[in-house]
């Protein structure tokens, strides 16, 4: 659309005062990731409400188990490294995808998915153990808040894996078209953002929760 305006001599030469306005509408390669970035920020606000609920309810244990009795730092460390590596590998997949390298892109995406699945598996194992010990989300307000906060992050990871699988199939079937690259970029934004939220979770929930009282 900008090209059209330029050919008919209607665009301003860039000397106009403020904003991006002088160039007319942005191209899709800017607009789509920007919109997704806004969505991710709105997701961050969602998590901020969950964090705030957790902070409010963390001592409402109703006589049940407390943070120090439940959390295992070793498992969390493994989870953290798995998710961090997954995020890193996803970045590598973006680099190869931009250059249209099918084999490496798929390989890095598989690695992203496996590391994500490791993370999710450990989290499910932790949840199952806790429920088995009678520390399920129905036990106390603290545990409700814990399972909701961490579980919501886990749900995001699970949805991310579903998206990743669909994305890989699409790249395989259709190759690196413009709009598919854009979607892959959106996925990588999503995946990095989940890592950011996990930094908040392992710090506030697990590390601060297991400091000696």
């Amino acid at each position: 659309m900008t090209t059209e305006a330029a050919t008919i001599g209607l665009t301003h030469g860039g000397s106009e005062d403020t904003g991006l306005g002088h160039r007319g509408p942005e191209s899709k390669s800017i607009v789509v990731p920007y919109g997704f970035w806004l969505f991710v920020l709105s997701d961050m606000v969602l998590f901020s409400a969950l964090f705030a609920s957790y902070a409010t309810l963390v001592h409402a244990t109703d006589g049940g188990p407390t943070t120090n009795e439940l959390f295992d730092r070793g498992l969390v460390a493994v989870e953290t490294v798995a998710l961090l590596l997954s995020s890193f590998v996803c970045g590598l997949a973006m680099i190869t995808a931009k250059r249209g390298n099918m084999v490496w892109t798929q390989a890095w995406l598989v690695a992203t998915g496996i590391l994500g699945a490791v993370f999710l598996g450990i989290e499910l194992y932790e949840f199952a153990t806790m429920v088995g010990e009678g520390a399920g989300p129905q036990r106390s307000a603290f545990l409700s808040a814990f399972f909701t906060l961490v579980g919501c992050h886990g749900l995001h990871v699970a949805c991310g894996l579903l998206w990743l699988g669909t994305m890989m199939a699409q790249i395989w079937a259709k190759g690196f078209q413009q709009h598919i690259i854009r979607r892959l970029l959106c996925f990588s934004i999503f995946w990095h953002a989940l890592d950011i939220i996990w930094v908040g979770i392992f710090t506030i929930v697990y590390l601060i929760g297991t400091l000696p009282a």
């Binding site: 900008t2 090209t3 330029a6 991006l20 160039r23 942005e26 191209s27 390669s29 800017i30 789509v32 990731p33 920007y34 997704f36 970035w37 806004l38 920020l41 709105s42 961050m44 606000v45 901020s48 409400a49 964090f51 705030a52 609920s53 902070a55 409010t56 730092r73 460390a77 953290t80 490294v81 961090l84 590596l85 995020s87 890193f88 970045g91 590598l92 973006m94 680099i95 931009k98 250059r99 970029l185 990588s188 934004i189 990095h192 953002a193 890592d195 950011i196 930094v199 908040g200 392992f202 710090t203 506030i204 590390l207 601060i208 297991t210 400091l211 000696p212």
Partner: protein, 128 residues
């Protein structure tokens, strides 16, 4: 105007740089820094040599630093002029996140202090 010129003036959030070497280097630096900060966080939380009451605050600071690393090296949010809109949106998001969290925690702490019945008291009432 071509796509490339557009990119010079405004970039999408998360879009990698154009040079394969600098891209990979950015990710590797980011990964290294993130791993170091994570390690420091776990160490700070486990060691006994630091001043106890300050640890929680220190951990939050480390987390914020690590979030910054992720934003810059993985999501490529920088202070460059091409990034203004992305940074503005991020600033708005961060502002709201802090308002929601600090406001809620502050309000709820006061509510709990003023309004929640003492557990001992509730137990007494239940016995009657």
């Amino acid at each position: 105007m071509t796509e490339n010129e557009d990119n010079l003036l405004d970039v999408a959030p998360g879009a990698p740089h154009n040079n394969i070497l600098s891209e990979s280097v950015a990710y590797i630096i980011g990964l290294a820094l993130a791993l170091i900060l994570t390690g420091v966080s776990f160490w700070v939380a486990s060691t006994g040599v630091l001043w106890g009451p300050g640890i929680a605050t220190g951990l939050v600071v480390l987390a914020i630093a690590q979030i910054g690393i992720h934003l810059v090296f993985f999501l490529h949010i920088t202070s460059g002029p091409d990034n203004t809109n992305n940074v503005l949106a991020l600033a708005f998001g961060v502002l709201i996140v802090f308002l929601v969290m600090i406001g809620t925690i502050w309000i709820m702490a006061h509510m709990n202090a003023n309004m929640m019945p003492d557990p001992a008291l509730t137990n007494l009432q239940m016995q009657h």
